[in-house]
Subunit: 240 residues, 2 copies
């Protein structure tokens, strides 16, 4: 599905609800979070699958979400990063990232950022989203992802990137991570000399539209998506 | 740019305007046209470039069309067909296609169709659109193209095809060729086990919308395209 709505600019994090598991309190820097954007690898498929399912719940579209781990494994990671379907993962740790990320062989240098919060953050799903890159020195969780791939503008005669999905888990929202993920895709597009980054948004999602416009994007009001799928697509099996 | 509007279902061809060059009258089958859809090769770039320019004129968007032959040559044909940006060309001849198409090494079998017209067809640009596949037995012209590439649905965990452009030269419109080109993409998607074929249309282009719906597509009313380009994209060069 299309890009999930990142929230409007950061607001103070709410007080952790009573009864939820508390976050790892070994963090030596108070309410500091260490974040990293890295390329996903096949070892991350279980987390990517769970994130996609959470996104479907968020969009109330679970009835059209049929992705399995096996489907993802067989369709992602078949081409070098950026040349086809590519996933950036957002990782969060309470301590600095000493361990290198899993190698994707791409030469893409992970992007590290330190985020200071007003209040401690509780991740009730920290255990089930423990990252494959977790090491002895830190406890790394997967907090979100962006899936993108090349598209093409004939008028520019240049590739661009199309962002199919942008998702941050609920407890990490309103902290600038959605902006970080989208900025990472935009920065990579500039680095490759590409002409555009595009994605879609629901017309009623005014917070998301405001956020995207603040990031420099223009919303194109006149274009509509046409989709041929299911039995209507299947009907073309013997059409030619 | 996005898919140019194919016209509504066929209507009788207009009488050829006086003063225009007449078409090759050696056709042995009266008003019969032989059409073929084949993969484009680098030798077709000059024609693809001219078609893109005609499309920009049709869409009144020449001011944002900066594609050069050199840009096209360096950005297309870098991956095997269907794995990245792919172009199907529509070729027309007044006699049957005996000569094989230029090899693209893809194993894609060209699609041949015979089209019977009520009136003779005049192609005033036949000379400048003479195909690289023209042989001694026939005079082949390039009449249109479709440019498409893989996209991805996370909910299906399957690739699809996105159709960036669909264009048929003016004198070949209203004869079913737009449908042929789009059907060829849909048939290839089914063959590869893909989940969707998608493209965009201008909301005021009611003829095109009607045509696409007749082909089985659904128009998604709520989604809007967001585009980050030009200086706004360039601003992300040092963002990360």
């Amino acid at each position: 599905m299309a890009a999930a709505a990142p929230p409007p600019p950061p607001t103070p994090a709410p007080t952790p609800p009573t009864g939820l598991p508390q976050s790892d309190s070994t963090a030596p820097f108070g309410h500091t979070l260490f974040s990293r954007i890295r390329l996903a690898t096949p070892a991350d498929v279980p987390h990517i699958h769970k994130l996609i399912h959470q996104m479907a719940v968020f969009e109330k579209l679970t009835h059209i979400c049929s992705a399995t781990e096996s489907d993802l494994s067989s369709t992602l990671f078949n081409s070098p990063p950026f040349q086809s379907f590519t996933v950036f993962l957002l990782e969060i740790s309470h301590s600095p990232f000493f361990n290198p990320p899993p190698s994707s062989g791409s030469g893409f240098a992970p992007i590290d950022r330190i985020v200071n919060l007003d209040l401690p953050l509780v991740d009730p799903e920290a255990e089930s989203f423990k990252s494959s890159s977790s090491g002895p020195e830190n406890d790394v969780v997967v907090a979100g992802f962006v899936l993108f791939f090349p598209n093409y503008s004939t008028f520019l005669a240049k590739p661009g990137f199309y962002v199919e999905d942008l998702f941050v888990r609920e407890c990490y929202r309103r902290k600038g991570f959605g902006r970080m993920l989208l900025s990472a895709v935009a920065a990579q597009a500039v680095k490759l000399g590409y002409g555009r980054v595009e994605w879609v948004v629901l017309d009623w999602n005014v917070n998301a539209i405001k956020f995207y416009e603040e990031m420099g994007a223009k919303v194109l009001p006149e274009w509509r998506i046409c989709r041929l799928t299911g039995p209507q697509l299947e009907a073309y099996r013997d059409a030619m």
